[in-house]
């Protein structure tokens, strides 16, 4: 099993040429649409570049400004804690859903469809939906909890830093857990049934099977899910723009929102530097995951 990731095979020059020819179009696209903008942003971040002042090269002035900018540091801290809380929750729930979908629960089609709905809804629209749930006057949450007598007075869910944070995490977990579940499901389906049959012969319990077979074999795909989700979480923008716009008191400003506001104010240099730092954070986290995946691969050989 997992032989697919073994790369002991050596390619002949002819094979390499063919491979290159197939890869070239994609490489060109990535070059134009990914690499160039990233390099452009990095270069731009070294300039004092506002639309309303003389543009000049400023070395690392923008970065120095950011690192002493209280708002930037606060938004960096918010972004990292947001990712650190929401991603593990999404992983745990996604795993549970994937196991459920992989089991013989009926009706399977209906279950899968239900799970997928939040993922199929565009982010901005699900954020609007949640806005109606959290709304103080007309929101579903207050109506339900008030109706059941759980809360007396309506609760202003987005009214404290902690409340707004929790509300954003919940929204993010709701809409992206299906993505994690689907990715993990493909991993689950690749695990040979014989292993479980064998384990049953050895009288291993459900928990034992999960711990000894499922999780270890699922680990590479878990890392892939983590990689995607973490990068997405540190870039979070849409749900914040709609639900809190960074409030209350700026406590839920994400790095993307911070950079966006600088662009809107015409400061492209500062905004680029903020984006570049966001890129570095995402890249750093990706490298950690890729390294984890590689270690795992070596161990599995």
């Amino acid at each position: 099993m997992l032989q697919a990731i073994r790369d002991t095979h050596r390619y002949s020059p002819g094979e390499l040429r063919t491979a290159l020819r197939f890869l070239a179009p994609l490489g060109l696209l990535i070059g134009i649409f990914v690499l160039l903008p990233v390099l452009g942003t990095l270069a731009g971040s070294l300039y004092l570049d506002t639309t309303f002042l003389e543009r000049r090269f400023a070395w690392f002035d923008n970065y120095c400004g950011l690192l002493t900018d209280h708002t930037f540091l606060q938004s960096a801290w918010f972004t990292l804690t947001f990712a650190a809380v929401s991603v593990p929750l999404e992983l745990a729930l996604g795993l549970a859903l994937a196991l459920l979908m992989n089991s013989q629960v009926r009706p399977l089609g209906l279950l899968r469809a239900c799970v997928l709905i939040p993922w199929a809804i565009p982010g901005a629209i699900s954020a609007r939906t949640w806005e109606l749930i959290y709304n103080y006057n007309y929101g579903l949450a207050n109506a339900l909890l008030g109706g059941l007598g759980i809360v007396g007075e309506p609760v202003n869910w987005l009214g404290t830093g902690a409340g707004a944070f929790a509300a954003l995490v919940l929204t993010d977990v709701w809409r992206t857990t299906p993505f994690v579940a689907i990715i993990l499901l493909t991993g689950l389906q690749a695990i040979p049934v014989e292993l479980y049959q064998q384990a049953q012969v050895d009288q291993a319990g459900a928990l034992g099977r999960l711990r000894r077979i499922t999780l270890p074999l699922l680990r590479p795909i878990i890392i892939v899910a983590l990689l995607f989700r973490t990068i997405d979480a540190v870039r979070v923008f849409d749900i914040i723009y709609i639900l809190t716009r960074g409030g209350p008191g700026g406590s839920t400003t994400s790095l993307s929102l911070y950079a966006y506001r600088n662009f809107l104010g015409g400061d492209f240099g500062y905004g680029s530097a903020a984006s570049a730092l966001l890129f570095v954070v995402a890249l750093g986290l990706s490298l950690v995951y890729i390294k984890m995946a590689r270690k795992l691969k070596i161990k599995m050989r």
């Binding site: 309303f52 209350p248 700026g250 400003t253």
Partner: protein, 414 residues
């Protein structure tokens, strides 16, 4: 004439507008009739309703020096940024007498917003200012004869009416206004502060925001939510223009601070408050005077346009007497021309034109600086923090002044 701009040349000129569907319809009809009249093809570039997205949709083409759009609408809060970026073609040479008659407009507004270094770089299309909406029927019911003059009168009335109305309407509040973390909060703050004699001052590169008058305003705003409790707890989370309007329009508030657009919606068929609403200037603190933050949209010609002559021609048409009347009648937009406020037929259509004229004459523009967006940011953040109770109004103002000072030091050395 150089090619391309006339109908025979093909592509014509592009006008960027945004807003609600009914506004777009009016613009489209205007474009058609102008084409018939002048022979210049006008393409409408349709922008979203959201102000931020409209600005984003203009910054991108202008920053990359594209020829389109040839002319565009700007929120009053970003005219200075666009002007200082060198994106606005000076209009003076097109403003010959008979084309754009600048004397017909509110001069205080032209001076504060549309003139930069002595040159005319934009023209107002319509004006907005903060107003006090009140329930005439309820004031009458509880024996009040007029709208409140001072903020303390407003609170006293709100406390009493709220307590009594709640017997029937448990969600009833005395006063709703815009306190969420966004630009609207700054507009509200400047009105409270200005009516206490405060505001934002810039002297020799020094920002003055942490002043006694501003502190009085910030504490008062905080008190509306926590002491007199006449403003709802979600004032600082959800209360933007439309949320505020919805609460008032449902009959759940006595007073509302909003822009003039709310009037025609309150008066719409089926509105629970139809014919029960009065409009007044905002109250002031004892010894101060009413202040309204200036809003509204202005129009300018892109410096990158290759059809400036034609674009300026359309601009002159848009700010002309007849088009301004059309906007007022069909969209309820308040004319930028002062002379229209005496027109009988408009007074029938917009019954509070007198209040508005007084409001505009006393309107205070937000700091007309190219980096205003960056200055507004700490005000929004810390003032909203104070309204949420996470820091005191005193601490908020201290932080606002410090951070505004940093912004001025960063961008202010031209």
């Amino acid at each position: 004439m150089l090619s391309g701009c006339n109908r025979s040349g093909g592509q014509g000129i592009t006008l960027a507008v945004g807003g609600a569907p009914n506004e777009i319809t009016v613009w489209e009809q205007l474009a058609e009739s102008w084409t018939i009249r002048s022979g210049v093809e006008v393409n409408i570039m349709r922008q979203p309703t959201d102000t931020d997205l409209r600005r984003q949709g203009l910054i991108i083409p202008l920053k990359s020096q594209q020829r389109d759009p040839d002319l565009f609408l700007m929120d009053v809060a970003w005219v200075a940024q666009f002007a200082a970026s060198g994106w606005l073609e000076p209009l003076d040479r097109y403003a010959a007498p008979g084309t754009i008659d600048t004397t017909a407009f509110f001069t205080n507004i032209l001076e504060q917003v549309d003139r930069r270094e002595g040159r005319l770089i934009a023209m107002p299309v319509y004006l907005d200012c903060g107003l006090l909406y009140y329930r005439r029927d309820l004031l009458e019911k509880y024996g009040y004869t007029s709208a409140p003059e001072t903020w303390y009168e407003l609170v006293a009335m709100a406390v009493k009416v709220q307590a009594l109305e709640r017997a029937e309407r448990p969600q009833f509040y005395g006063f709703v206004w815009q306190g969420a973390q966004y630009e609207g909060l700054v507009c509200n703050f400047l009105e409270f502060a200005g009516s206490a004699g405060g505001g934002l001052a810039f002297e020799n590169g020094q920002v003055r925001a942490d002043t006694p008058a501003n502190l009085m305003a910030a504490r008062f705003m905080h008190g509306l939510i926590y002491d007199s409790k006449v403003s709802p707890p979600n004032t600082f989370t959800e209360m933007r223009e439309e949320e505020v309007r919805a609460v008032f329009q449902q009959g759940d508030a006595l007073f509302e601070r909003n822009w003039p657009y709310a009037w025609s919606l309150h008066q719409r068929e089926g509105s629970p408050v139809k014919d029960k609403v009065g409009v007044a200037l905002l109250p002031h603190f004892p010894g101060g005077h009413s202040v309204a933050t200036l809003g509204g949209w202005h129009i300018g010609v892109s410096v990158y346009s290759n059809c400036k002559e034609e674009a300026a021609g359309l601009l002159a048409h848009i700010v002309s007497d007849s088009v301004q009347v059309t906007f007022a009648e069909r969209l309820g937009w308040n004319p930028a021309r002062r002379d229209l406020y005496d027109r009988r037929e408009l007074q029938e259509k917009l019954p509070h034109l007198d209040v508005l004229r007084a409001g505009f004459a006393a309107a205070v523009a937000r700091p007309n600086l190219p980096y205003y967006t960056q200055l507004s940011e700490p005000i929004q953040r810390y003032l909203n923090g104070a309204l949420s109770g996470e820091l005191t109004p005193d601490a908020a103002l201290e932080k606002i002044e410090n951070e505004m000072q940093q912004v001025v030091e960063r961008y202010g050395r031209e």
